[in-house]
Symmetry: C2
Subunit: 112 residues, 2 copies
């Protein structure tokens, strides 16, 4: 199984908020300043800064001070471990449903 | 973009804890009682119950009372929206890196 790690914890936690997912979607269309994001999400600068900081700590957003503006962009984390984890969960779930199907099939045959 | 939803919030939040991911991995190997899980994770029954409840609310685990035992199993949620969301993030990140590559390529050509 994919190694359990603090990075996976912080990535999933960062993704558990709809505003933060919205910020990532916005950054997917191009870099943005904190002010751009605050205007787009009708949120205070302080509110946006907190969300961006959580995204940055999770490696999902990068910020850079350019003059007086903090420019935000997507990445660098590719979420490969998270994708692998979810894929493994899906495989386990499929396998469980297969086992359940086999069991029900055997039960039916026994009853007829 | 995948619709933002409370279900995606709760699924990612449920996955952000290593013990909860561990419980899902354990359930992937077969159904288990709360006591089985408590023994496996060296945690109190109350601690495990809380984690299982969060997983159940997120649709990642199902519990059923069989006599005096609460039996836990994987699913039913397939995490399809979450997979799609992460895949889209990865596409956006790739696109950003491509744009950056193009930009750097053009800058280099201009300088030579």
């Amino acid at each position: 199984m994919v190694q359990l790690s603090a990075e996976v914890d912080t990535a999933f936690a960062a993704l558990s908020d709809p505003t933060r997912r919205g910020i990532l979607e916005r950054l997917g269309r191009g870099d943005a300043s904190i002010s751009d994001l605050a205007a787009g999400f009708e949120m205070t600068l302080t509110g946006i800064r907190k969300h961006v900081q959580i995204l940055e700590e999770a490696g999902l957003a990068t910020t850079e001070k350019v003059g007086r503006v903090r420019r935000c962009s997507l990445g660098p984390r590719r979420l490969e471990d998270e994708t692998a984890w979810i894929a493994r969960y899906q495989q386990m779930l499929e396998a469980r449903l297969d086992r359940l199907g086999d069991y029900l099939g055997r039960t039916r045959r026994t009853q007829t």
